[in-house]
């Protein structure tokens, strides 16, 4: 297990769930990230904003090293999650991804039952002998309650998850991470496939869950970044342009480019 970082600077004690140092990334010959150094605070919701192709999703996918599954990817630099360099030899990708969960743009429940979707992670990580019916049942109930989905689906747990409404599917995808007790949840435009009501439901859920773990959310929706996040990172062309509290980034941007973007002059 990775140790919690204890970084003390004078009187103020600050902890960072994620720190990258000089992180560069190439897809083949194309450089998608340019020496990104960023520190994301623990227990907060941090939004990543910026125009399409600026590297938001790429950065997000680096944080649980799932990028490596997409083919010809080269990275240099450091990424520390909970203080541990995730490129260290002794880091198990399986354990890393268990700790750093991901929610996608398009809800991607697996084509199995709602019940099996929730316990999928448990089954993957635990020998079958250790998973009694009661353990699984309990995990399903707690997880679905945590994402406020229990009442809607408790009578159809054996039904296919792919038949749920999109909003419920997205909640289920979040519930799927719960039994693994993640410390960080990465969200890649989790609401862009949802309508206004679904978006609101997911944002409410984020504000509840945000107290329990660090959330990093990529979004194209500036209003959402403003509503739902406490810190905000503006990226452009694979570089971090600005990183501060959401209020600062939106109201008092230090950088002209940020100002143009958050005021909707382009992007």
């Amino acid at each position: 297990m990775m140790a919690m970082p204890q970084e003390t600077s004078g009187a103020v004690q600050e902890t960072y769930s994620i720190e990258t140092h000089n992180l560069s990334l190439w897809y083949g010959d194309f450089q998608a990230l340019h020496a990104v150094s960023v520190r994301i605070r623990s227990g907060l919701i941090t939004s990543l904003i910026g125009p399409s192709g600026c590297g938001k999703t790429t950065l997000l996918r680096c944080l649980n090293r799932v990028n490596e599954r997409y083919g010809n990817v080269t990275t240099t630099g450091d990424i520390r999650v909970l203080g541990k360099n995730i490129y260290d030899e002794d880091v198990s990708l399986v354990e890393l991804r268990r700790c750093v969960g991901m929610v996608f743009q398009r809800p991607n429940p697996l084509p199995i039952s709602i019940y099996e979707n929730v316990v999928f992670g448990l089954r993957i990580h635990t020998p079958a002998a250790q998973l009694s019916r009661s353990v699984l049942d309990e995990a399903v109930e707690t997880s679905l309650k945590e994402v406020l989905l229990w009442d809607a689906v408790k009578d159809k747990l054996k039904k296919r998850a792919t038949g749920l409404q999109l909003e419920q599917q997205q909640k289920l995808c979040i519930a799927r991470l719960m039994p693994l007790k993640p410390q960080v949840v990465l969200m890649d435009e989790p609401c862009s496939a949802l309508d206004a009501r679904g978006t609101e439901a997911i944002e409410d859920l984020m504000s509840i869950l945000g107290k329990r773990f660090t959330i990093v959310i990529v979004t194209h929706n500036m209003a959402q970044a403003r509503r739902a996040s406490e810190e905000c990172i503006y990226m452009y062309m694979g570089k971090i342009v600005e990183h501060g509290t959401t209020l600062d980034v939106f109201l008092r941007p230090r950088n002209k480019e940020t100002e143009n973007y958050v005021e909707g002059r382009y992007g």
């Binding site: 010809n72 991804r97 991607n108 697996l110 993957i124």
Partner: protein, 288 residues
Amino acid sequence: MFKETPWVRRKFAVERLVASLFALMAAAMIVPLLLVVAHLFWQAWPSLSWEFISAFPRNNLKEGGIYPAIYGTFLMVAISLAITAPIGILAAVYLNEYARDSWFTRIVNLAVVNLAGVPSIVHALFGVGAFVWITGRPCILAASMTLGIMTLPVIIASTKQSLAAVPMAFREACWNVGASRWQTIRTIVLPNSISGILTGVILQVSRAAGETAPILFTGAVFFRRELPQSPLDQSMSLSMHLFSIATQGGQVPLSIQYGTAVVLLGLVMAFNLGSIVLRIYFRTRKKW
């Protein structure tokens, strides 16, 4: 307002012409099938009987049935399937799920594509040179392996296609909760692609059942008094039987020739029907 201009009228005239031409061509596909089947049955009718598919040929193939040929075809196809299905499916899983773009996978893919384009008679010669040489004499096993070499690349290609049809989002979902590739394949990818995979395999089986060239020198015989006792025996086969009685210069009654063709066609269609049934069965369990 909103009046039809001459240009729009012309556009629709062309549209109708094109649509009916295409529909006609599509309908033209049915005609040869119906004609072939009707002609076969018409000519074969006098010979078709229970005895025809359950008895041995008699009197220099001029009377009796074709049971040993049916049996031989079944055996050859079954053995070839038992050899190629596991190899083909596992290779395709590797290529589609594990392999990255490297010189090795490029060579394998190139080999698959090229092997699929090799004429069956060339496979036959390879079978003689390799498998018959190994087994020491032409036999069912050598014939099956030759058929296998012929069908393998197509099985690999169709399996790869079925695997690729499983949405990437499912794999991402699995990887992101920490599933290994094998866990992903076992729990999600295979269950959702099995119908396509089996369909591809069965279609190749029915193709193998109809081939003559690959078994001509590797294990099929013109006539044999008893059924093969082991895979190292030679055997009669439907396609070979049809080939030999049809080229015997009119000594074998026409209805027996056509009857053999009907049985071969029926066998192939039965295989295809089986693949359709499997497909429907698995499709009802797969929804996304």
